[in-house]
């Protein structure tokens, strides 16, 4: 603590940031919780309905459950691409001696580009008429039978809207994991190598355990970002066709701003927050148990 500080000076520095944060983040959270107990279309009087919105959401809303499972699928694809890809490239990169900086920069490029641009780009990549990159590639490698309009086929659309999100942030997570891998002590690796450890053993017994704390942070980041994913599916398909690429976030957005059902939308929003908290809790719990075992 600073010797000459006064209570007033603490307030002078703390109040303005707390004010902005309260107005933009804290107060809306409380307000959402509050709204979730009401039925309100923004014009007529608010009507207190107790837990009715929650009951409706959990027991009587097929679209909600559809969106929930879609969101899990979306998350799974994003995680595999982001964490799997990140770990793979980061490990490969540590064995390279030149060009690392260049690869880091190139790999991070998609993270700098706006989601709208990415959505446009991928709409064209998936396109069938005129033929886009993906279908053309399939045609060339002799898998022409697989060519299809990826975004209007209900079997492929969820994967098709998930992939761009995964693609976009792989570089970001790679950077973080790469920085962690660099901090693995060289002596440890040398010693294991002298003891005859294979590359795979070196990775599973030394490197990976060493980066565990960072891996946990990265997993939590990727999971919470995956669960709140919105822009790309919203822009590419708006949840369609039907509800086959609807996520909880897009469903909540439509409920709020197309159907102007503010109360029910808030209920879904609260659910998204709970879902994020549960996911973080689960990850910490599972990894802790694994570390203890």
């Amino acid at each position: 603590m600073l010797p000459n500080r006064s209570r007033l000076s603490v307030l002078v520095f703390l109040l303005p940031p707390l004010l902005l944060y309260g107005v933009a983040v804290l107060f809306p959270i409380v307000q959402s919780l509050f709204l979730s107990f009401f039925s309100w279309n923004g014009i007529s009087d608010m009507e207190f309905v107790g837990l009715a919105n929650y009951v409706r959401m959990l027991t009587a809303d097929d679209i909600f459950w559809r969106s929930f499972f879609n969101a899990l699928g979306y998350l799974a694809i994003c995680l595999v691409l982001q964490l799997g890809g990140a770990l793979l490239v980061a490990s490969l990169l540590t064995s390279m001696r030149r060009g690392r900086e260049l690869i880091k920069t190139l790999y991070l490029l998609p993270a700098v580009i706006s989601t709208v641009a990415i959505a446009f780009l991928f709409v064209r990549i998936y396109s069938i008429d005129p033929v886009g990159l993906l279908n053309q590639l399939l045609h060339w490698i002799g898998l022409g039978a697989l060519e299809r309009p990826w975004l209007s086929d209900i079997n492929t659309v969820l994967a098709a809207v998930s992939a761009p999100e995964g693609w976009r942030f792989t570089g970001l997570y790679m950077l973080i994991i790469y920085a962690a891998l660099l901090s693995v002590p060289q002596e440890l690796e040398e010693a294991a190598r002298l003891d005859g450890a294979s590359r795979w053993q070196l990775f599973t017994k030394i490197r990976f355990p060493h980066i565990m704390p960072v891996w946990i942070t990265t997993t939590i980041m990727a999971t919470t970002y995956g669960l709140r994913g919105f822009d790309i599916p919203y822009l590419m398909t708006n949840g369609g066709p039907g509800q086959s690429s609807e996520l909880l976030t897009t469903y909540m957005y439509k409920t709020a701003f197309s159907s102007t059902d503010f109360g029910y939308a808030s209920t879904i929003a609260v659910f998204i927050v709970v879902e994020c908290l549960v996911a973080v809790g689960l990850i910490l719990f599972m990894l802790k148990r694994k570390a203890d075992a």
Partner: protein, 301 residues
């Protein structure tokens, strides 16, 4: 790292009987060749779509509609760019994005630094509690704020203003910035503050004369990292802004989707190229600082 560059004649300079440095001379193993090929493939997957975006923006419409998408364009044209500027309000969108990014960054840097100063340097009894309050903003998704803010803004007539975008963008970015500033302030030695205190400097002068000037590097990092997210923000802008005059780049790009879903794709791609260029240039010039910022954001935790 600081070794001078090896002269070209180096092999001759080394006495002939000394063994060559083992590491350098070994032919590349199967493993390293494979991993290089794999890295190259993955990088192509990451970068090629962006290159393709640019190449397509130079294609003629006819070429785009009929040609093989992987082929190089038969002839290059800048016409798409001209059309992109005619169709939309590109300059206006860029200006708006610039205003929003600047406004939010000023708030984030100033308020973030102040909060971190109060938490880390001044210290007070409930600092742990305040810290965890700020932590909420990192975990909670922004979607929770959309409906309440929309309602609040419409009550106080703040919808459709720059402030309606700047406030939530700054609010949600604040926690991470406070975190970055706090972890930097930890490294400023206590003695510096004590010495200044003995000389009679109060908390305000110490903030202005010591903490602030020392934080320049962290400010750059915070601004860079936040700018990526703010410049590209879609969800707040899409929810709170309706009028053409206030649309930022992500919203402006949507204008290129014509009625009935018929889109002038080559002009759209040209517009996309124009709008991603400013951030891309900043990123390529300052990518070291940005990469460092992104890394330290997560690894220190």
């Amino acid at each position: 790292m600081t070794a001078p560059a090896a002269p070209i004649t180096r092999p001759r300079a080394v006495p002939s009987d000394s063994p060559p440095p083992l590491r350098r001379r070994r032919p590349p193993s199967l493993h390293s060749t494979l991993s290089r090929v794999l890295i190259a493939l993955i990088v192509i997957v990451q970068v090629y779509p962006l290159a393709w975006l640019f190449i397509t923006s130079l294609r003629t419409e006819h070429d785009f509609a009929t040609g093989d998408p992987f082929a190089l364009p038969k002839s290059l044209t800048w016409e798409n760019y001209a059309r992109a500027f005619e169709t939309g309000n590109l300059w206006l969108n860029i200006l708006n994005s610039f205003i929003v990014t600047m406004g939010a960054n000023v708030l984030i840097v100033l308020l973030g630094m102040m909060a971190a100063y109060a938490l880390q340097v001044l210290g007070f009894r409930f600092s742990k509690f305040v810290r965890s309050l700020f932590l909420i903003g990192i975990i909670v998704p922004v979607q929770i704020a959309l409906v309440p803010l929309f309602i609040d803004y419409s009550t106080i007539n703040l919808l459709d203003t720059y402030a309606s975008m700047i406030i939530p963008l700054a609010g949600f970015a604040l926690p991470m910035s406070i975190y970055l500033f706090s972890s930097f302030f930890e490294y400023i030695p206590r003695e510096t503050y004590e010495a200044a205190s003995l000389d009679g400097a109060g908390p305000y002068r110490i903030f202005g004369l010591i903490t602030l000037p020392l934080s320049v590097n962290t400010v750059v990092t915070v601004v860079l990292v936040n700018s990526i997210f703010i410049w590209n923000d879609f969800i707040f802008a899409n929810t709170f802004v309706l009028s053409e005059e206030l649309k930022t780049i992500p919203l402006g790009l949507q204008n290129y989707i014509g009625a009935m879903g018929k889109t002038d794709w080559t002009a759209t791609f040209a517009a996309v190229c124009v709008t991603i260029t400013p951030l891309l240039l900043v990123f390529l010039v300052l990518n070291k600082a940005m990469i460092q910022g992104l890394e330290s954001g997560a690894t220190k935790g």
